[in-house]
């Protein structure tokens, strides 16, 4: 099992969610996050004062998938989150040691 963590543009969350549904991903967790990468921040001006705002709003999507599905999930996210411009975000893939469904106590792939 792997956890796929994708940081995407906020307006790309809906298309990514829809696309993951279509490939039968049954659950995900999303969080509103702030951060920056090579894109850096933007400038904001209030009356005379200018501020460099480094942390831009993004959304983090977390999905756990069985090994054989990881590649499809990652490709689906890339396909639907990509604009081709800077600021599109990143995807991280981590190994997952165990998954337990709290209600039933099921573990492993059955619990995903």
């Amino acid at each position: 099992m792997k956890k796929i963590e994708a940081i995407v543009q906020p307006f790309k969350v809906e298309p990514v969610k829809e696309a993951l549904h279509k490939i039968s991903v049954q659950g995900m967790t999303v969080t509103e996050v702030k951060g920056f990468g090579r894109q850096k921040g933007i400038r904001e001006v209030y009356r005379g004062m200018e501020y460099q705002v480094d942390f831009l709003p993004k959304v983090k999507i977390e999905v756990v998938a069985p090994e054989d599905k990881v590649k499809t999930v990652v490709e689906t996210i890339i396909q639907h989150a990509r604009t081709g411009r800077i600021g599109d975000g990143k995807i991280f893939v981590y190994p997952v040691e165990e998954v337990i469904r709290i209600r039933t106590g099921e573990t492993g792939d059955a619990a995903v």
Partner: protein
């Protein structure tokens, strides 16, 4: 006595009352979220503090029987003698008490304007003491000079319809003294101090605009042609200043901002205040256009000059008040108000000098007394909260509550 006039002025008094909470929202949205309640409180509580000061002795000092053209006597302490009959020197058609409560609302909002200068760092206890002293030693005498029966600037013929000098220059220059004595907020110039809720600021500006009709049109003290003309002038100058402020921003910075539109509205309202009952509609538009641009440039200049007048009381109120008071000397005409005066463009160049004198005297007097008061309070009670409290924010450190709990 005239029931229509009385009803009109009472409603105007209620409108002006709403300006102080409006100002609280206007300022509250511009601070960081940890100071929203502290900022709102410093405005809202003035409704409590100054109302009582006004009834006890403030009204008597400002409008009471004249002493040496400088101050009202204490004959009307505790509103003694402020009856339900008209007091002819102020109005022949409304009860004296109606005039008193209408003026109370002006006395409340004027010191509240200053709070923008020391936002996010002033100690609440010292703030309360300062406000009572400032109202007594600065607002009440200056109101007497310009509006009181026998006041020396009134006798000279200075035109200030609703408070360009008494309210805006007076509070605006006190704000400069505050910013200079108190010093900048911790982290000013290095940390981002971004307004936490601009929709709140725009709502506040809208309430100010609404209430200002009571402030300016109500100053006619009668439900008639003069009130209508002041109402129209107020609205048009404000509209023009919204356009000129965001226009200037658009040219200089590349984008028109919502905060700029709200600030422009307030700048226009400030500038038309002294002129409202003396100028025609086209003059009002010119005054508004000038105020929007000049106040915006004044706000930009602050950043260069380096003092931390946090919410731009100097740039908007002091500078806007000066623009309005001086332009009144150019645009005033007896065609609008036979009881007023003519300005330079209507054949009376001397009016500009009288206006400049009233502006200059208010600037000097208010700045000096305010500066001395701040120095004394700084040495005795301390003006600022501790660094630790400032970092935590005024909401929690001064009031033990939070504006938002999510």
């Amino acid at each position: 006595m005239n029931p229509a006039d009385t009803a009109f002025v009472l409603v105007a008094a209620a409108l002006v009352m709403l300006m102080t909470p409006g100002l609280a929202l206007f300022y509250g949205g511009m601070v960081r979220s940890k100071n929203v309640l502290g900022t709102i409180m410093q405005n809202f509580v003035m409704l409590g503090v100054i109302s009582v000061q006004w009834a006890l002795f403030g009204y008597s000092l400002a409008f009471g029987p004249d002493l040496g053209h400088l101050i009202g006597s204490l004959d009307w302490v505790g509103l003694n003698g402020v009856s339900l009959e008209p007091f002819k020197a102020y109005s022949e058609t409304i009860p004296h008490q109606t005039f008193m409560i209408y003026q109370a609302m002006f006395a409340i909002i004027t010191p509240a304007l200053i709070t923008g200068a020391w936002a996010e760092r002033m100690k609440f206890s010292t703030f309360l003491v300062f406000m009572v002293l400032w109202a007594t030693l600065v607002y009440d005498p200056v109101a007497h000079w310009v509006w009181g029966d026998g006041g020396w600037l009134k006798n000279l013929g200075a035109l200030d319809f609703a408070g360009g000098t008494v309210v805006h220059i007076n509070a605006g220059i006190a704000a400069l003294a505050a910013a200079l004595v108190m010093g900048p907020r911790k982290g000013y110039g290095t940390e981002a101090m971004i307004p936490h809720n601009l929709p709140m600021t725009v709502l506040g500006a809208a309430l100010l605009w609404f209430g200002w009709f009571g402030f300016n049109a109500g100053s006619a003290l009668a439900a008639g042609a003069l009130a209508s003309s002041a109402f129209t002038a107020t609205h048009l100058a404000t509209a023009a200043a919204v356009l000129s402020w965001i226009g200037a921003e658009w040219i200089i910075r590349g984008k028109p901002t919502t905060l700029g539109a709200a600030s422009g509205a307030v700048a226009g309202l400030v500038a038309i205040t002294p002129a409202a009952g003396y100028v025609g509609p086209m003059s009002a538009i010119i005054i508004g256009l000038a105020a929007g641009i000049i106040c915006y440039l004044a706000v930009l200049a602050k950043v260069k000059l380096g003092y931390d007048d946090s919410l731009d009381v100097v740039g908007v109120h002091c500078v806007g008040g000066m623009v309005g008071a001086l332009l009144t000397g150019f645009f005033a005409t007896k065609l609008v108000n036979p009881a007023g005066g003519d300005g330079l463009f209507f054949g009376n160049p001397g009016q500009v000098g009288i206006q400049a004198l009233a502006v200059g005297v208010t600037l000097v007097y208010s700045f000096i007394i305010s500066y001395i008061l701040f120095k004394i309070l700084d040495a005795t009670m301390g003006l600022r909260v501790s660094t630790e409290e400032e970092v935590a924010g005024l909401d929690i450190s001064e009031h033990q509550e939070a504006g938002y709990s999510l």
